[in-house]
């Protein structure tokens, strides 16, 4: 037995693998004494040699619902290039079916991504955790809280450090969390010194057991800014109640600019800048994310030197869900009255402008050197081709945003991909579909393996031999190159 061979434990065959060789599966190899999952291009070769794409629907059999066609948006047609990987054993037999070629080349693979993760946007104003706090799944660190965005909390999960840099449990937990999030499943995440949040792409977040319904239109201060003109002249004072920043029209910059006179109103809480108050109450599930049921409880007495009897006061929450209208009596105490018709519209508009709260999951990964080498002998040309919009990159048929700069680092919305489009390998790393679609001529120009492209293109040229498949209506058709789209 060679002392430099290693035993692979990826499956029960338990191959002894010599350095530089692969096991019986061709999927695992001995690279300088370490067991490694092979470079993606090997997988790529196979997919290409098979002559069509393998968009991986990595469904475990117990998940499989048994339907034969669960994914209607299967764009394929493909024609693959190939290399002569020495241990490769393709399917040498070919059985006819009703497929016609097209004059586009689609090089498709299951990319194996160690450099990948997800960016999660959670539409909620609730405090999920401090920036940089660790996010855990099954007690293991899988990511962190990153810079929050307007109306949303952001998490950055996965990445090479959690996948491969920590211990085995951390890598496995990270891989599982990413896989489930990318495949549209619900994942419970716990943030250190923060909330427990259930995240599922395209669904409302559940924060500490409470499901978010709507995103607020803005913070209290922003709401003042947005609606000041609509209120001006119809009401003397408006308080937008918000657990973060409560806004007061007459003191706010927007009110000042309109010439709204001082009203002598006094708010509890801490004044930040004019017209903006922090901590008017405790956090809660009532008015504007506070714990108050009576809006007047956040007001102190009106200043009798400024206020006047008959002063009209509107109090409203950031979602428009709660609102009340008051007029001051001779004692300068607010008395609730029916909301005048001319104010009802502005309250309704706040509601209209609130969007439903969602979780959004963007997969982000980088197509590395060897994956590109599977497409062309000159990998940088593929990168240039993507930049020049000659090659369309798709992820399971879904459009991607390719980051400027070097490499092919892209983001894609997982809800636009086929169900269960992602898989994993025990490395651990995520397996994501990635397709490069380009014209055959362009493929030749960038040094593609044209000699190995199956000759269906010549067939297609005899007529418009495009295969008819049903695409998702909200995705661009992958076989129309970005350059063509530009010309239109």
């Amino acid at each position: 037995m060679g002392d430099d061979a290693i035993r692979c434990d990826a499956c029960p065959v338990l191959c002894y693998i010599k350095p530089g060789r692969t096991g019986a599966c061709d999927r695992y190899g001995n690279h300088e004494g370490k067991l490694v999952r092979l470079d993606p291009h090997v997988v790529l070769d196979r997919a290409m040699e098979r002559g069509d794409s393998v968009v991986p629907f990595l469904e475990r059999s117990h998940d499989w619902d048994g339907t034969l066609v669960s994914h209607r948006e299967t764009f394929v047609t493909a024609i693959g290039a190939g290399t002569t990987y020495p241990d490769y054993k393709p399917a040498p037999f070919i059985i006819s079916s009703q497929v016609e070629g097209v004059d586009m080349v689609t090089v498709v693979t299951e990319g194996i991504f160690s450099y990948c993760g997800v960016k999660v946007k959670i539409d909620t104003d609730r405090h999920l955790g401090a920036e940089c706090s660790t996010v855990r799944s099954h007690d293991e660190a899988v990511g962190h809280v990153t810079t929050s965005e307007y109306g949303s909390q952001m998490l950055s999960l996965g990445g090479v450090r959690h996948l491969t840099g920590g211990n085995r449990q951390e890598g496995t937990a990270t891989c599982n969390a990413l896989l489930n999030l990318c495949n549209g499943k619900a994942v419970e995440l716990i943030i250190d010194d923060g909330a427990k949040v259930v995240v599922q792409a395209g669904r409302a977040p559940i924060v500490d057991g409470v499901q978010e319904e709507r995103m607020r239109v803005g913070c209290g201060s922003a709401t003042i800014g947005m609606f000041a003109k609509q209120w001006f002249g119809k009401v003397d004072e408006v308080v937008v109640v918000d657990d973060h920043i409560t806004g007061v029209l007459s003191e706010h910059q927007a009110g000042k600019l309109l010439g709204v006179p001082e009203t002598g109103i006094k708010l509890k809480g801490r004044r930040s800048t004019p017209g903006r108050y922090f901590q008017v109450a405790e956090p809660g599930t009532s008015w504007g994310g506070t714990d108050i049921d009576d809006p007047l409880s956040i007001l102190a007495k009106f200043n009798p030197k400024k206020a006047w009897p008959g002063l009209r006061l509107l109090m409203v929450s950031t979602t428009g869900e709660h609102h009340a209208y008051f007029e001051l009596g001779k004692d300068l105490k607010p008395r609730e009255k029916e909301l005048p018709a001319n104010l009802q519209e502005s309250v309704a508009r706040i509601q209209e402008n609130c969007e439903p709260a969602f979780c959004t999951v963007l997969f982000m990964g980088g197509a590395g050197g060897s994956l590109r080498a599977g497409v062309t002998e000159n990998p940088v040309k593929l990168t240039h081709s993507v930049r020049d919009a000659l090659t369309r990159v798709t992820c399971g048929g879904a459009p991607v945003y390719v980051w400027p700069g070097g490499g092919i680092t892209f983001m894609a919305d997982v809800t636009r991909m086929p169900q269960n489009a992602f898989g994993y390998v025990p490395t651990p790393a995520l397996v994501a579909p990635i397709e490069f679609t380009l014209k055959l001529a362009d493929y030749a120009a960038l040094g593609g393996y044209v000699e190995n492209v199956r000759p269906l293109s010549s067939i297609a040229s005899a007529g418009d031999g495009r295969r008819r498949v049903t695409a998702r209506s909200d995705n661009p058709w992958p076989l129309e190159s970005p350059a063509e789209t530009k010309k239109k």
């Binding site: 191959c15 069509d52 339907t67 034969l68 190939g82 040498p92 070919i94 006819s96």
Partner: protein, 296 residues
């Protein structure tokens, strides 16, 4: 539950892809949709345990096949031994030579025993088990070299013809070969039989002692290979026409023997651009390659 096995559809939504360890199968069934669904479920269920079954008897299956050898317990393993036993007295062969074909057969059997299918195939990395009901056919494309899938011809399998298994072997393939054939393709009554015969014939396409052939002991490449210290082909230099003819003749003689005793129906031997066909290749066509072929 075997959590390694990957079971998924190819993008056409019709063909099932089953992968577990070194097994990589493409399955397609034809028939009423409900029957196809039943068949795919049966294939998936059967597939999940196959690798564990095989590995539990792996040491035994790597031993040379002899008439006195102990029979394994597993259904797939028994198919392997049944396929290799006919060669046990005259050739060096281990049951592993039939593993791909035997797996394909087993999965196909799981499908056809549970569902009513007009046609079906299970393609295990080029070793294919086929099911045909009366009147049905499969058009099969053939490649000259496994690593360069370009078609050199097609053949048609019909219900009336007994061929239900197809396999290819050669030194360029994934498994080791003792010979120098680029590819030997065999049609036989079942996939495991075709798999074994392709291995035997490919081993026989050879030029012993030729200096342009690089041979390495199998165990130096894969320490646990069933071929042990036997020399396996790693490279073949350019051969003269006479040498190619001599090597093909050697393999051809073996193929003809196997044909005479009924172990194969057809063999196509390929070496450096030359092809020799032994037996009848049903409806062999090399003039016009069907334009609607796709890799199975």
């Amino acid at each position: 539950m075997n959590s390694r096995a990957q079971i998924r559809f190819l993008p056409d939504g019709r063909r099932l892809h089953l992968q577990d360890g070194p097994m990589d199968l493409i399955v397609e069934a034809f028939g009423a949709p409900t029957q196809v669904e039943i068949a795919y479920r049966a294939a998936s269920k059967r597939f999940e345990t196959v690798l564990n079954e095989l590995c539990s008897e792996l040491a035994l299956l790597r031993q040379p096949c002899t008439p006195e050898a102990e029979w394994p317990r597993g259904a797939v393993a028994r198919r392997m031994v049944a396929a290799t036993m006919p060669y046990a007295t005259e050739y060096f062969i281990t049951p592993m030579a039939a593993v791909a074909g035997a797996v394909a057969e087993e999965i196909l059997a799981a499908m056809t025993s549970s569902a009513d299918l007009s046609r079906a195939y299970v393609n295990d990395g080029g070793d294919i088990a086929v099911h045909l009901s009366p009147g049905e056919t499969f058009v099969v494309g053939m490649v000259e070299r496994p690593d360069r899938p370009s078609l050199f011809g097609t053949t048609t399998l019909r219900f009336d013809d007994p061929v239900r298994g197809i396999a290819t072997s050669g030194w360029r393939g994934r498994s080791f070969s003792l010979g120098i054939a680029d590819a030997v393709t065999v049609l036989a009554v079942r996939a495991s039989a075709a798999d074994t015969a392709a291995t035997i014939i490919a081993n026989a396409v050879d030029l012993p002692g030729h200096p342009a052939i690089v041979r390495v002991p199998a165990r130096e490449l894969a320490p646990d290979s069933d071929l042990g210290a036997r020399l396996v082909t790693q490279a073949v230099g350019e051969l003269t026409a006479t040498e190619v003819d001599r090597a093909l003749s050697s393999g051809g003689q073996t193929a003809e023997r196997l044909l005479r005793i009924g172990l194969i129906r057809t063999a196509a031997l390929h070496l450096q651009g030359e092809t020799r066909v032994v037996g009848a290749m049903p409806e062999l066509r090399t003039d016009a390659i069907e334009r609607n072929l796709v890799h199975a």
